[in-house]
């Protein structure tokens, strides 16, 4: 599964999320996903990570070995900008 496919899958399962996939070791295996999603608001870290993992349920069983996660609520600065 390519980084792009992982990104698309998460964005599809968590509509409105923004996903960035990093490949810090440049090996295509040890990937890191940074997920920004409004629905994370008010949820614990554990719940936020579970939401992303649920989006990749099938993939994590087989093709995805290592996916580091960082989750963020919708970036506040952007919201402020929109309001102005």
């Amino acid at each position: 599964m390519t980084p792009q496919e992982i990104q698309q899958k998460i964005e599809q399962e968590l509509p409105g999320s923004k996903v960035e996939i990093l490949d810090p070791r440049k090996d295509g295996v040890h990937l890191k996903a940074i997920v920004t999603y409004k629905e994370f608001s008010g949820k614990s870290l554990l719940e936020q990570h579970r939401m992303v993992y649920n989006a990749l349920k099938e993939e994590l069983k087989q093709e995805v070995h290592a996916l580091a996660l960082e989750t963020k609520e919708e970036e506040k600065i952007e919201e402020l900008r929109k309001e102005q």
Binding site: H30, L45, L46, H49, R50, L56, K57, K61, A66, L67
Partner: protein
Amino acid sequence: MNEDLKKRIEDMIQSKKVFLFMKGTPDAPQCGFSLKVGELLKSLHVDFGSFDVLENEDIRQGIKEYANWPTIPQLYINGKFIGGCDITLQLANSGELKKLLEE
């Protein structure tokens, strides 16, 4: 999950205040994520129990279902599932892990 497997998992989690399911052992971890959590606990001088899921496929799969969490490592404190590598490191950075360990 059958009751026997669930009980084996619960017995392990209850056996120590801090328990880590990992790939490999604290001294010979077999995966970078397990390595990081093990090293973190060692650096905090935490006395923790651990189980190498590579030794037992039933536990390896069972623990994923038990915690509703698809990956290893899994850290438990006071019998409660805390998270995997990313969450544990994040909680360590924010100081929350220390609080959990002191509870």
